[in-house]
Symmetry: C2
Subunit: 192 residues, 2 copies
């Protein structure tokens, strides 16, 4: 669990944010072999600073996971305000699929560290669900996305498409065309 | 490697086919915990008969894998002869996705047994590729499937959709609607 009993001073907050940012990149690159030492080194802080914020590697991984989900929810909220709700939805979907390899590396590192994020991530998961649902509903109201699907179908398609994207043996252009098929399938049928 | 130096007599051929059939079901149900003993028991033969045909569990698994791929290629060939090439292609695609959990169980059992099917499965993989490509091209010529994709995109989408189908936490109706999105995306755009 990430303990934050007292409010952090602003420099401590900045340190924490920077550590999360660096840690996300390190875990994405190295997966289960990433170390807290490397995170400290690349963030330019001592290992003691990392452990003050995150007593264990599991705490750090969990905080990265939560921060990532919060950033995605914020991004969905920002896109939901866009003038073109259809474009906004498809942009978000494609971004999620393209960032799948990093997401999967993080999930594997969490699993390897034996961290169960169910409890900590629950509030942000709800926020993510609300944000993505809003983005979807606006795109549907604009007639850009078929009306017969909901959040569950979108997540199933995201997980599926992300699984395809994670296989490095699939050439990027094949991945792009496969993603285009899914995106077109999300649009309403305009005829026959 | 599956050794078949001499032609098998017809009762031996029948026994072998039956063992493969039973083994496929047992591995699909039990995955890595399936045993050669259970295959023998459920096929109603002695364990010696199994070992005469398949000296190791790896040999049996490999033969099941090859037989499955050959059956799918035959099914694609059969469907390619159908009067409605579009319907035939979509039927094949949906069947492949629905049988994904069994396919994945088999792949896991192969991996757990340390079996590399690359060499043995290579000829049947080529046949499978030819059969699916023919099915795809006929559907494309009939105007039922978009023209800008090939075998690689179809397999990427199959693998992706199959990954979604393998998650038992996804409700069947959500899986069906997610699959419908992919199938619709495979159709040519009729407007917009």
């Amino acid at each position: 669990m990430v303990t934050n009993e007292r409010p952090l001073r602003s420099d401590a907050r900045r340190n924490r944010a920077k550590l999360l940012d660096v840690a996300e990149r390190v875990f994405a690159e190295k997966g289960t072999s990433a170390s807290t030492e490397e995170v400290a080194r690349r963030a330019g802080v001592g290992i003691g600073t990392v452990f003050r914020h995150f007593p264990t590697k599991g705490d750090l991984l969990e905080a990265v996971f939560v921060a990532r989900l919060r950033r995605l929810a914020d991004e969905a909220d920002r896109l939901a305000e866009s003038a073109d709700p259809g474009e906004a939805f498809f942009t978000f979907f494609a971004q999620m699929v393209r960032s799948a390899p990093e997401k999967n590396a993080l999930s594997e590192a969490l699993a390897a560290a034996g961290v169960d994020v169910t409890e900590t991530a629950s509030p942000i998961k709800d926020a993510f669900r609300t944000s993505v649902s809003t983005l979807l509903e606006r795109a549907q109201r604009a007639g850009a996305v078929r009306a017969d699907i909901g959040f569950a179908e979108v997540i199933t398609l995201l997980v599926s498409a992300s699984h395809g994207a994670e296989h490095s043996f699939t050439a990027p252009d094949v991945q792009s065309r496969a993603l285009a098929v899914v995106l077109d399938g999300l649009r309403p049928r305009t005829g026959g």
